[in-house]
Symmetry: C2
Subunit: 451 residues, 2 copies
């Protein structure tokens, strides 16, 4: 059945179980369903309520469910969990998910937790943490299935049965020598079709395609996707197998990179977390930085116009026209980009009103900052009345641009159209028109003459 | 070893084998390497040369290699292959890849080919072709592994060995009743760990997560990725299993949707093929459409300015300032968006000069069209001299914006920076500054007075 049916069936049940302290029911929830589904059912609960449910599970299930929450939510859960339970959960997490979480922890918390974690896991954590961010090493897992070349297919299957519980995947098997050097590759599909007495050395593909542990993660993900692999082996300088990158992590990387590029292209400093998970002031800062830089660039255009336009002083309005219009267009593009990307990632469901309200407030904040700065810029070139016209226009244009940029894609989605057809240039064009009207109305009202 | 090492080692060999008509060598190439790798080694050859290599393979390998080429290249290959060989290849292709290719063929070609294809395949092709574009049905494959619930784990493994060669994946097994209704799900991992005498009915997960055949493909891909599945079952209205969507196709869908959204946001009608594969005039048309619409919107801003700015006629220049600047910014955003997305998909390697040259030519074409239209727009409001100033400025601004928008990301990539940091608003700001200089210089030169 569709996942949405599951969640809508289970969500009310969970609240009842929590209210009635139904220990058996909560235990079953934590252990009998897909971990990703449990995480989705719990979506919308507070960290406290979530842990109230999860503490009924066992560490292996807790670890799996935890990994499906967003990292900010994982962090707030981690603060609640007692150190002893947390260390058991961290031990059970898959190597790559664990590192993502630990990387985020503050040093104090991290160092308090580490002694409680088993020696073998601890060494692995330190090793994985040592690889540079954005490298293959940072997204790989060390839990791969590997076998020697000189055993038979029958023996290989027996060994795989034993390895299976602790491996991220057993569908791809890597053949290594005693020094862990990568000799070959074998799929489980080929293995189970082989005659039981065949040696792996005659079944395996020799010299499989691999990547270096220092390779860029986006290149690695593109490579894996190009070949339709389930996983790709990661080797060090001596061609020793150190890990594998699996298809799901590669797909996540490509999604993240696409989001990052979209944000940059739309003039937003990339968000580390989802659009909804990013706090108000972080979001305002990541947008404000670029708007200020762009205002600076536009103020140079005003300067250039000042030199070129050497007619009488009545034409002061034209000097700031490009700057005023660009501010509105830029703010609108930012909102549209963020909302359209969040829609593509299916993040916005049930949050439309909240998004509209937050965008309006962010627009007003950004508008106020940009207005103040543009008054300063204008004061260099014209009088204070004229500067006030520029400032109030920038405030209104930025606020309205932000709201329009956010609401248009949401509206298009609601009426069943592709939200992305409202492109950034189109939003800029709408904003230009509003901007011109606001600018001239403000000038007429505040200075009296329009020139 | 890394894939790039493979390709650089093999490419010269292939040319020698072709020159020396080394039949045995070419046969080995087609059959002994990963199909995706062979496709990459052949990249850059003409369709004729490619078929000269591929005709030495057998249909199963030919079919697999073919599926790794871009669809436009597949189409040009298909034109070369004799009908008999082509029908064998099409029979061997996986159900989803096959439909992608056949959908593109013209009716005549398609109807000539169909009678040569085996009855069973033919029925399946017609069925898959009947699902709406962008639905789960359009990306699923019908080659899934399924078993009844009442057999033992031992028997299941035996049956899977027989099913394996014709299945897209055997790692996920779907349990169905006699009416093909989906009862449960079982992974091969769980199956090989089970006691051989256990019945599948007690091993399987009941009521697995599934999607409807009419669900939107982007939602399906997001769902699959959220649960980290290898595949997700697709059912019809009666909960009968009709196919599966696999992880690689889901990842492709998400990449395509991200590209489509990026293009739309950048103001380009989405390209159906890769940036490099799209012919010159198709690309010019897909960009020109939006630039013309946006010019129309900007001309309304000029109208509005004309009403508001009721000072003397000397200020004609201000009327077209927003329109002139927006044209350059829009053209630049288009180029930057296309190039940055192509860079993210790893499409540009070795083509940088060609891209720069093509963008310059497209910029000039688009500039000429927009210039002509803006002269018409301007003639409504001002005299012919002034209109010519507007027209020539638009031509220069659009051409330069296009070139700058394409070259900046490529340059940033070359010096090792993230090409996306040169955001569209930044390109618009640069283009504004150039635009102001060009506009006033042109006016000074052609009309003599700047007002």
């Amino acid at each position: 059945m569709p996942a949405s049916v599951y969640t809508s069936l289970l969500q009310p049940d969970v609240r009842i179980m929590l209210a009635e302290h139904d220990e058996a029911g909560l235990r079953e929830l934590c252990t009998a369903f897909y971990p990703a589904l449990v995480a989705e059912v719990l979506d919308g609960m507070t960290p406290e309520q979530t842990w109230d449910v999860l503490r009924h599970g066992d560490p292996p299930h807790q670890a799996e469910i935890l990994a499906f929450f967003s990292l900010p939510f994982q962090m707030s859960l981690v603060e609640l969990i007692d150190r002893e339970s947390l260390s058991r959960i961290v031990e059970e997490m898959s190597a790559d998910d664990r590192v993502d979480l630990l990387e985020r922890m503050d040093v104090e918390h991290f160092e308090a937790l580490m002694p409680l974690i088993a020696q073998a896991e601890r060494a692995e954590i330190r090793k994985l943490l040592s690889y540079p961010e954005d490298s293959a090493g940072a997204i790989m897992t060390t839990e791969y299935a590997s076998l020697p070349a000189d055993i038979t297919a029958h023996d290989a299957l027996e060994r795989l049965r034993i390895q299976a519980p602790s491996r991220e995947t057993i569908y791809y098997i890597y053949i290594t020598d005693e020094e862990r050097r990568l000799l070959g590759f074998l799929s489980l599909r080929k293995l189970i079709q082989a005659k039981p007495s065949t040696k792996l050395s005659s079944l395996m593909d020799r010299d499989p395609i691999s990547v270096k542990v220092t390779d860029d993660q986006e290149d690695v993900a593109n490579e894996l996707l190009r070949y339709d692999f389930l996983a790709i082996p990661v080797v060090d300088d001596q061609n020793r197998l150190v890990g594998i990158v699996t298809h799901d992590d590669a797909a996540d990387v490509l999604q993240e990179e696409a989001t990052e590029d979209a944000h940059l292209l739309g003039g937003v400093q990339p968000l580390e977390d989802g659009y909804l998970d990013t706090p108000f002031f972080t979001l305002a800062r990541k947008r404000g930085v670029w708007l200020v830089i762009l205002l600076g660039a536009a103020s140079m255009t005003a300067q250039v116009l000042g030199w070129l336009d050497n007619s009488d002083s009545g034409t002061w309005m034209v000097l700031f026209l490009p700057m005023v219009l660009a501010s509105g267009g830029n703010a609108g593009s930012q909102s549209a980009t963020l909302v359209i990307r969040a829609l593509a990632l299916d993040e916005t469901e049930g949050h439309v009103h909240w998004i509209a309200w937050r965008e309006a407030r962010i627009g007003a904040c950004l508008g106020a900052v940009l207005a103040a700065l543009s008054v300063v810029v204008a004061l260099w070139m014209v009088g204070w009345r004229e500067s006030l016209v520029v400032g109030s226009t920038v405030f209104l244009v930025v606020t309205m641009g932000t709201i329009v940029g956010a609401m248009l894609p949401l509206g298009l989605k609601r009426i069943g159209l592709d939200p992305a057809i409202m492109s950034n240039p189109m939003i800029a064009a709408l904003s230009d028109m509003m901007g011109v009207v606001i600018y001239y109305t403000a000038a007429n009202w505040m200075v009296g003459t329009v020139a």
